[in-house]
Amino acid sequence: MQRDAILSLLRERILAFAASRLRSAAAEDLAQETMLLLHEKYGHLDRLEDLLPVAFRIVRFKMAAHVRKRARRGEAGAADVTEVALASPDPDPEKAAVAAETREALRAALAGLGERCRELLRLKLAGRTFAEIREHFGAASVNTVYTWDLRCRNQLKASLHHILGDRP
């Protein structure tokens, strides 16, 4: 698939996603800013496997910034995406704030997880495959473990509404 075709479809998906979580005008801005950034800063990427994760990161950051900005009553205006140092390894105050907020929310969500979910996450972070996890739990099939994983992740995702916005 050609880069232009990928970016076209990507814009369509990002716009729909953002529109379901943000206001329509903000969604348009978010999609446009993401595409602009992909074009200017990541013009060397032309494979879907590379473009999609980058696009996710940009959208994520933009959405988090939008949510935080909306929370700060009286302060409007779009963020200057050119100032977002996504490619820079240096810590960014805005990014650090989002990360801290995400960390606290995730800690709280992890504390509310059940024993099986927490153990499942630990095993995954330890690099275990699903087949090994199934064996560890003595589950009948690996599909059972997939189901458990999906439920656990949905619980954690609910805690990330400051990034993901409110689900439709």
């Binding site: 998906r13 496997e49 995400t102 960390r103 995730l106 996450l121």
Partner: protein, 305 residues
């Protein structure tokens, strides 16, 4: 791509298990499927959040609750069962310790059936009485006798009298047996009559061709014709008609000729007595003592025209 396949791919993608081909397939599908795109975005966001070193350290360092052993998993069910058993045991023990209350049951008890002992009446060996006592004393008994034989059998009446008297004498005073009911008494008298007449009689007249024919009841015999009395025995009995004597056995017929009967009404007296031996025919007194039938007599009436 089915929902199950999508979830599996997402799960394996999040765990880093997808091959490059599967990864490309997932991403291509996400570009076409908005729902998958959203899910992928959310999962990617969560993965990045979980990749935070501090979160990762917290999660890995937090002590996992120990997996409960079988004894811990069964602890509460066992305790609950034990508690139920104790409560049930206490309840049963209390039930057993309480005095048992009498149970009031209505019951219908039938009247005990009194066994009525039969009254042993000493029956006489024979129901014979001297021929002198020939007059009937009771009107009802005579009526029974007339009904059965339509003649006055002195022996039967005497036998009935004797049976009734012996019965009444044997029964204790004041008991119902002392005054037997009329039907029973009637039956008893009928049996006595039958027993007292151990023979049957009929008149026969000789026809012109020499054969004998029976006279119908209350029929008249023609004058000048030989007439005889036929006696059929029911028991072994000695019979006397006039001066003729004969021993009659059961089913046997004896004929007594009646010569010299003129026109008019005649009375022929027949006497009998029980006998067992042919020799007893000669002496009625002996026959009466040895036979089973009692002595008796009848007066037969014959009209000759």
């Amino acid at each position: 791509m089915t929902r199950e396949e999508r979830d599996q791919l997402l799960a394996r993608y999040n765990n880093g298990e997808l091959s490059p081909v599967e990864r490309e397939k997932l991403f291509s599908e996400a570009l076409q499927d908005q729902e998958l795109f959203d899910l992928l975005f959310e999962d990617e966001t969560l993965n990045e959040a979980l990749a935070d070193p501090e979160v990762r350290r917290d999660l890995m360092a937090a002590p996992l609750p120990r997996r409960a052993g079988w004894h811990e998993r069964w602890r509460w069910p066992v305790l609950a069962a034990l508690a139920v058993s104790v409560v049930a045991g206490v309840f049963l023990i209390r039930e057993q310790m309480e005095p048992e209350k009498p149970v009031m049951v209505a019951r219908s008890v039938p009247e005990p059936v009194r066994s009525i002992e039969p009254i042993v009446a000493p029956m006489p060996d024979t129901l014979s009485l001297p021929p002198a006592r020939v007059e009937p004393r009771r009107v009802d008994e005579v009526a029974v006798a007339k009904k059965s034989e339509k003649v006055a059998e002195t022996g039967a009446v005497v036998a009935m009298d004797a049976a009734a008297e012996s019965f009444a004498a044997a029964a204790p005073a004041g008991t119902p047996a002392a005054a037997p009911a009329a039907p029973a008494r009637m039956a008893m008298m009928a049996r006595a009559v039958a027993a007292a007449v151990p023979l049957e009689t009929r008149f026969e007249v000789q026809s012109g061709d020499g054969t004998w024919r029976s006279l119908e009841e209350h029929g008249a015999a023609p004058a000048g014709r030989p007439v005889r009395l036929a006696v059929v025995g029911r028991e072994v009995v000695a019979v006397r008609v006039g001066s003729e004597r004969a021993l009659v056995r059961p089913g046997e017929t004896r004929y007594f000729p009646l010569p010299g009967l003129g026109v008019g009404e005649h009375e022929i007296r027949i006497e009998w007595s029980g006998a067992t031996e042919p020799d007893a025919v000669s002496t009625f007194a002996e026959a009466g003592r040895s036979g089973t039938a009692g002595p008796g007599s009848r007066v037969l009436r014959l009209r000759v025209e």
